[in-house]
């Protein structure tokens, strides 16, 4: 997890999110995998929406997801949040023997 988010000018915060990235990733094993890396796409992600299908999974932002610290999203359920700060990646690890697929969009600057 990043130590702190950079200070933004007030006029920058009034602007809409200029950048976005879509991602679709299916796990291939029982280890953690990166569903999305922000490098080259945007400096920071501030709004995210995704669904998890075919099997449940643990999701983590800016760190490697584990079955103890990750956020459990059951199969065919989703997640949405805005006014957040993601600086590096979104990682996924399946919660059962079934491989999980994550689909979503992230908006940011």
């Amino acid at each position: 997890m990043a130590d702190k988010a950079p200070w933004r000018q007030e006029i920058e915060l009034l602007q809409n999110y200029q950048k976005h990235a879509t991602f679709t990733h299916t796990t291939t094993g029982s280890t953690v995998e990166d569903a999305l890396t922000l490098a080259g796409k945007m400096e920071e992600g501030n709004k995210v929406s995704f669904v998890v299908e075919t099997g449940g999974a643990y999701i983590a932002f800016d760190e490697d997801a584990t079955t103890s610290t990750g956020m459990l999203v059951p199969a065919d359920e989703g997640y949405f949040d805005d006014n957040i700060y993601i600086s590096t990646k979104i990682s996924i690890i399946r919660s059962s023997g079934t491989n999980a697929r994550i689909r979503g969009i992230i908006w940011g600057r």
Partner: protein, 338 residues
């Protein structure tokens, strides 16, 4: 002010820096100082008690010395009595043989009685002194106990003072850290205030410029109305005073020149207004450009597919926390991921 004069706007701004915020933990410092003073007074009290104990011990030693001397004298007197009794026995044995010794015997008996009475007096004094000594011993024991208790209390007080000093030092360090953090925060705040002021100045400058342009437009409208009025008057005069046409022709030409100048000025103003309108259109065009792509727009432009038409059934969460986890009503999804 015209738009061309915008570059001549002074860039330096005079602002007064706000004072830094300083936090002093005076309440804790005063409390610890009061505790330290109280401990110092307790320490002085214990030292006074220790001096009294030393005095009592020295008095006890002197009394013990006196008692030893008197015991020695009593022993000597007992030995004297024994010798006198021996002598009395010898004298009683010699009484029959030497009647003259009767008188000496009586004298010796008198002396023995005196010695006995003296011995009784000294024995009484010794008993009294031993009683006093036992009383002093008990006093000394109680003083020793008090001294030990006071010593323990003094040690506790010193340890408490040391722990209080350590706490005071920790609080001072914390206070210094808070001060440095406050300084940094005030610096960031000042920088943000300055940037905010710059933006406000820029907005005010633009407002003033707009107001000036509006005033110029109003003036142009007034001039146009006046010119129209003048033209009407001249036409009326022309029709009415056809005889004086020749003489007025010069005046008319002069007025026409004025009108031409005014028209030229008006044209310049209109061109400037057209330029401003064009600039305004450009600004509006930039402002209405879509910069934030919705999910459906991204899906249609990039061929990315997200499940649509799903209805979230988790709409209520505990407290005022906004729901982020989405659970959908069971509905068939036709498309899969790309």
């Amino acid at each position: 002010m015209k738009l061309n004069d915008f570059n001549k706007k002074p860039t330096s701004l005079n602002r007064s820096l706000s004072n830094k915020i300083v936090i002093n933990n005076t309440a804790s410092e005063a409390r610890y100082k009061a505790e330290i003073e109280e401990l110092n007074t307790q320490l002085g009290h214990y030292r006074r008690i220790e001096a009294e104990r030393d005095k009592a011990v020295s008095k006890f030693n002197s009394i013990e010395e006196t008692l030893k001397t008197e015991r020695f004298e009593a022993d000597k007197n007992r030995e004297l009595i024994v010798e006198l009794e021996k002598e009395k026995i010898n004298l009683s044995g010699m009484n029959e043989q030497i009647p003259a010794l009767d008188e000496d015997l009586r004298t010796a008996k008198g002396l023995a009685a005196v010695a006995n009475s003296e011995l009784d007096i000294m024995t009484k004094r010794a008993v009294e002194q031993s009683k006093e000594l036992s009383l002093l011993k008990s006093n000394l024991d109680s003083i020793n106990n008090n001294y030990n208790n006071l010593s323990i209390e003094a040690k506790e007080a010193i340890s408490r003072k040391q722990s209080t000093d350590a706490d005071f030092e920790a609080i001072s360090n914390k206070n210094k850290k808070l001060q440095s953090f406050t300084d940094e925060t005030s610096k960031i705040n000042n920088r943000l205030i300055e940037e905010n002021k710059t933006l406000r100045d820029w907005a005010n400058y633009k407002d003033v410029e707009n107001k000036e342009l509006l005033v110029q437009l109003e003036e142009l409208k007034t001039i146009e109305a006046k010119l129209r009025e003048w033209m009407g008057n001249m036409e009326i005069k022309d029709s009415q005073n056809s005889s004086s046409k020749n003489s007025l022709e010069t005046k008319v030409s002069t007025q026409q020149k004025v009108i031409t100048d005014m028209s030229k000025t008006l044209d310049d103003m209109m061109k400037e207004m057209a330029y401003i309108a064009k600039l305004n259109r450009e600004y509006k065009k930039e402002l209405i450009k879509p910069t934030y792509s919705s999910m459906s727009a991204i899906a249609s432009q990039e061929g990315f597919v997200m499940p649509n038409g799903k209805e979230n059934i988790r709409t209520h969460n505990l407290g005022n926390y906004k729901p982020t986890m989405l659970k959908f009503k069971k509905k068939e999804e036709t498309k899969n991921g790309r």
